[in-house]
């Protein structure tokens, strides 16, 4: 029983820590399909969080309490961190993208040398895999652009937050409020750019 309990505990821990990676290990699904599925899920997450960013910009815009505004900026950083995590270069989706691309290119190469099928069959398969390679490359590049946008937004948030801190240290509350208003505009601009970017991301093979 004790052994069983510790097995369950280990399984739970491993399960919790490897949530996004588990399905990637499934042999029945090609890495390209898995990448496509993950992008679909990611787009939903992006869209939900995008809404939160917009709401946050609205809230910040009306604020005169600097301390509350700082807390709001801090939670916004957490949201942007959540967006950046999966698409960072060592994040699960970016790594799956690299794996999918490798798989699609290898598959294309092996089909080009295939002799089992008729010429028409081979050309059809090669054509389809070539399309998949292109779409996977495009999706990976779109995620790369999203990564740059999130990095940019995170940087704006943290430098503005630091500046507000500095202003508060020299008791310049009204100047800090002006900076907060300006930040709300910056966030809205970034949010519009993100919206277009997220809409444009297309999973391969769809």
């Amino acid at each position: 029983m004790r052994r069983f309990t510790s097995f369950v505990a280990s399984a739970l821990l491993i399960g919790i820590c490897t949530l996004p990676a588990v399905s990637a290990e499934n042999d029945a699904v090609t890495p390209v399909e898995e990448f496509s599925r993950q992008i679909d899920q990611l787009k939903n997450t992006f869209t939900e969080l995008e809404k939160k960013i917009e709401d946050s910009a609205k809230t910040i815009d009306g604020m005169t309490d600097v301390e509350k505004a700082r807390q709001e900026i801090e939670s916004l950083r957490a949201i942007v961190g959540e967006l950046l995590g999966p698409v960072s270069d060592n994040g699960p989706v970016a790594q799956l993208g690299a794996k999918a691309l490798r798989h699609a290119r290898d598959k294309l190469k092996s089909l080009e040398q295939e002799t089992r099928f008729t010429r028409e069959e081979q050309q059809y398969l090669v054509g389809e895999w070539r399309k998949l390679v292109e779409e996977t490359e495009r999706a990976a590049s779109d995620l790369g652009m999203a990564r740059s946008e999130f990095v940019g937004l995170l940087r704006v948030l943290q430098t503005r937050e630091d500046f507000i801190d500095e202003l508060m240290q020299i008791r310049r509350a009204s100047e800090a409020v002006r900076v907060i208003r300006q930040l709300a505009n910056d966030i809205r601009a970034a949010s519009d750019a993100l919206k277009n970017l997220i809409r444009a991301i297309k999973p391969p093979g769809v």
Partner: protein
Amino acid sequence: MRSLARAILGVGLMFGLVACTDDVGYVEVKTFPGFNLPLYLDTVKLEAPFKNGSAVVRQQIGKTKLQLEHGGQFLPLCEFEVRKNRIVTVQLRIAGFERVPRCELRK
């Protein structure tokens, strides 16, 4: 005995959850044209593709050392603090006759 095991399990799960969740920040590493030595954050190799010479990686918060590996040895380049949900940019530069790149940090 069983209640002790349960307590240990509970604490273990709690620590497990903390260990694999949120306390992370980001490091952006920018290299210069022609740079092709393997880089490490602490002892973890940066496998990132360095598209256009830059990569963004998730990193546990705390003091982090950027090192390069040359001839099987680690050469520390700089040390910096990674803070929760913040990004640190490390730009590598090489000047004149220097053999080892220097870090410029932007926090």
